[in-house]
């Protein structure tokens, strides 16, 4: 049998960076071929080439045995190559059936033939094993798993033979995940070819026939799924022996007094569930997770930006409820994962710094004095608190976001991705600011999706996957491999 699609020595460079360095890849009808690798390994570039998003690349692509060069996504779709993105492109207000036939509704004359559309939608969903979904209801009434289903059904009705799925389960509950994996298997049995991209390695080994591992734009290996396991895949994804910044030696710390922050069974729908956590003054706790694992949402919720639907937050033993203002008063500080949401780029540094403290710090002179003091502490360059934040480099903007909370050292500092997009020097500086804060008695929760950042700074490490804390490390050697392994999740086994 010949492959449905074959890539031969496909290369792609973006400016000076070689994103793909000669990839061979193929997928057969009736096969699920998984694609795994770290962020930046080249998965998304490859996927975009397959889906016709990137038309200019070196190397050959063959589809059904014939050479093919896709010029745009529409062409890919017409040939039967459908891509299902991580961010779904569904319309929650429209009915399930309308979503399935979006843009291609069956018509009678010039009007939509609703009866036929609904009937066909029902037939497809039944064939996919979801007979209970009511196709006339708005898609928004259903959970995300059904949204995914609608997209898959849409791909099938448009005649897709090759379906590319990008992180299809990252937002799904364990039960929805199981059903989706079963659906993927069923599609393969019906002769469709599936390219399945995921961080969740146990799902990958459960659902795929073959797994291809990418690293730094190269294909490391293609393995039969039943002959490999999660540990081997992690090892292949990370490759080389862990370097010094990819390992850490944790020493158990003597904990002083009562916890600065405690969470009891904190839950928020579609974000995290039943999180228990205690952080003590003086320690930096690293919270690692893949994007979408709920760790950023957890920090945001503790700071009062979203309401948990269950559980309790306590700061220094006292229950905390209410919005950010209340949280700040109780000694919490927060840096959001995106600078744009946390800073006023068109306002001078000193106004960015002083805003939470205006109750006792109002007046340009006092504000400037305080801003000078704290921006000096974080090493802002140039050290000019009258300049607009937007005029600083990204790393220095981030320093402003942190410096604000040094005016009055917080009891608990929730820092989400505080070193994102920084060069090594700036990263070290920011992490040493966190260390100094901890030494001064602040409990720091360092939330990140970069294992290196966590390993470089944390005294204790927690790993989150799909909204739950799945691992904790308090002592001994921890490596990136271990963190990636934990975050890659466990597949819930049910009989």
């Amino acid at each position: 049998m010949e492959p449905l699609l074959r890539l031969t020595q496909v290369k792609k460079r973006f400016g000076g960076i070689e994103a793909l360095k000669g990839i061979d890849f193929d997928v057969y009808p009736g096969e699920v071929h998984a694609l795994v690798g770290e962020n930046g390994a080249g998965k998304s570039t490859m996927m975009k080439i397959l889906a016709g998003v990137i038309p200019d690349y070196a190397g050959e692509m063959a589809y059904k045995g014939r050479p093919l060069r896709l010029k745009n996504p529409k062409e890919a779709l017409d040939l039967g190559i459908a891509m299902i993105h991580q961010e779904l492109s569904v319309m929650p207000e429209l009915s399930v059936a309308e979503n399935i036939f979006l843009g291609r509704q069956p018509t009678r004359g010039r009007v939509v033939d609703w009866r036929r559309m609904n009937a066909e939608a029902r037939r497809i969903l039944e064939a996919l094993g979801y007979p209970q979904v009511e196709v006339e209801r708005p898609l928004g009434d259903y959970p995300l798993g059904v949204h995914q289903l609608a997209e898959i059904a849409r791909a099938l009705t448009s005649g897709a033979e090759l379906i590319i799925m990008d992180e299809p389960t990252s937002a799904l509950s364990p039960m929805e995940t199981e059903r989706l994996l079963a659906l993927v298997r069923r599609l393969a049995e019906q002769g469709k070819a599936i390219v399945y991209i995921s961080h969740f390695l146990e799902e990958v080994t459960a659902v795929a026939d073959r797994v291809t591992v990418l690293r730094d734009g190269e294909k490391v290996a293609t393995l039969r799924a039943e002959e490999t396991d999660k540990s081997e895949l992690v090892r292949l994804m990370l490759g080389r022996e862990a370097q010094f910044f990819e390992r850490a030696e944790l020493a158990p710390r003597a904990r002083a007094g009562e916890p600065a922050l405690e969470l009891f069974g904190l839950s928020r729908p579609r974000a995290f569930e039943g999180v228990d956590l205690a952080i003590y003054p003086g320690e930096i706790v690293g919270l690692y997770g893949l994007i979408g694992s709920g760790h950023f949402e957890l920090a945001e919720t503790v700071f009062g930006l979203a309401r948990p639907n269950a559980g309790q937050i306590r700061v220094a033993g006292k229950p905390l409820r209410g919005g950010p203002r209340r949280a700040i008063r109780e000694g919490l500080a927060y840096v959001p994962p995106s600078r744009r949401t946390g800073l006023f780029l068109e306002k001078p540094v000193y106004q960015n710094v002083s805003l939470p403290w205006l109750d006792r710090l109002f007046g340009p002179l006092r504000e400037l004095a305080a801003a000078r003091e704290v921006t000096h502490q974080v090493g802002l360059r140039p050290p000019d608190p009258t300049r607009d934040v937007g005029a600083f480099s990204g790393g220095n903007q981030q320093k402003v976001a942190i410096a604000r909370w040094l005016v009055e050292p917080p009891k608990v500092f929730l820092a989400s991705e505080p070193t994102r997009g920084m060069d090594v020097g700036a990263k070290d500086e920011v992490l040493s600011i966190l260390r100094r804060m901890a030494d001064a008695g602040t409990a720091v929760l360092l939330v990140s999706s970069e294992p290196e950042t966590i390993l470089a700074a944390a005294d204790r490490i927690l790993v989150m996957a799909k909204g739950r804390i799945v691992a904790e490390y308090t002592s001994g050697e921890v490596t990136k491999e271990m963190l990636v392994h934990d975050a890659a999740g466990k597949l819930k086994k049910t009989a």
């Binding site: 949280a327 959001p336 306002k347 205006l358 109002f362 005029a391 060069d423």
Partner: protein
């Protein structure tokens, strides 16, 4: 990420943007000065101030609202209503100065309702204030039964058409309103919260600013200054009618925008509003002085306002990139 500060060129551009309304104003003054003998006189300058005084009172509140990136489309109707209430209460023999107090409280209360609807219920301010303008307008009609009220509070008459040391009280009230507005915006915590809420509501919330309360309060302020304009305005007109100030809406918002206060919040202020008021005043007055077809006046004013809006949007769009 490369550690390089952005060039100072953008700051120059920023300054040019901030000063553009001033150049517009100077150009208009020069233009009318050349083409009309009666334009550049002290007396005419007094006329201009007098003509924009009511707009200035109203514009002070609108400046607050625009700075938080909201809008208030009910101000002119609020002014009408406040005038009607003051006159109605006077006719009903409520002792002075209570009619004025009641009128201002009614306006502020309705502003508070729009504010709560916008900030806490999430109704876009253009819609909540549009609905509120109907309520205000409806109340005016209901109270007057469509008639004109001539019993005005004495204080309204004094402030609306009296003079002190040769200066119109109306101009003094307008100047004081602008001054208080300026002091609040520049020298109080609340003023800072107004700017920060408009500049980036999410970031303001992260820094502990109660952005909902700020938005509610600016709507109260806008309704209050509109009410003040109405209470003083009936004194100038000599009567309160159920549609007295309805036509001022576009001018009042237009003046604030012409001055350079951003429709997207966070940028601008009372000095800008003063410039905008003068642009509008000079334009209106100047067009009367030079022999322009009177039927073209509104068209020309409209075109200039539209140009200012395009300018406002183009520069605001720049910051997204």
């Amino acid at each position: 990420m490369a550690e390089k500060p952005k060039a100072s060129k953008s700051r120059l551009l920023e300054n040019a943007r901030a000063l553009a309304p001033v150049w517009t104003l100077l150009a208009l003054i020069a233009f009318f000065g050349v083409y009309s003998d009666s334009f550049l006189t002290l007396e005419n300058f007094g006329n201009i101030l007098n003509q924009v005084a009511l707009l200035a009172i109203m514009g002070t509140g609108i400046t607050f609202v625009l700075l938080t990136a909201q809008i208030d489309l009910s101000v002119s109707y609020m002014a009408t209503l406040a005038g009607v209430v003051a006159a109605y209460a006077t006719a009903a023999h409520l002792p002075q100065p209570w009619p004025i107090v009641v009128a201002l409280l009614v306006a502020a209360f309705l502003g508070w309702i729009s504010g709560v609807a916008t900030a806490y219920l999430g109704i876009p301010s253009f819609m909540s204030t549009l609905a509120m303008s109907l309520i205000a307008s409806g109340l005016s009609l209901y109270l007057t039964r469509g008639r004109i009220l001539f019993d005005l509070p004495p204080l309204s008459k004094t402030l609306g058409s009296g003079r002190i040391f040769g200066v119109k009280w109306l101009v003094i009230v307008a100047a004081l309103t602008l001054l208080v507005g300026h002091l609040v915006l520049k020298y109080t915590r609340f003023g800072r919260y107004v700017y920060m809420t408009g500049a980036n509501p999410k970031a303001a919330e992260l820094a502990g600013v109660n952005t909902r309360r700020v938005i509610t309060w600016v709507m109260v302020i806008a309704a209050f200054t509109a009410g003040l304009a109405g209470v003083v305005g009936i004194g100038r007109l000599g009567s309160a009618t159920p549609t007295a100030f309805d036509g001022m809406l576009i001018d009042a918002i237009g003046a604030v925008v012409l001055g350079g206060t951003s429709l997207f919040g966070g940028v601008g202020g009372i000095p800008q509003t003063v410039v905008g008021l003068l642009i509008l005043g000079v334009l209106r007055n100047g067009l009367d002085q030079v022999s322009v077809n009177i039927y073209a006046k509104t068209l020309i004013t409209g075109i200039i306002l539209f140009a200012a809006l395009v300018f406002n949007i183009l520069f605001a769009g720049k910051k997204e990139s």
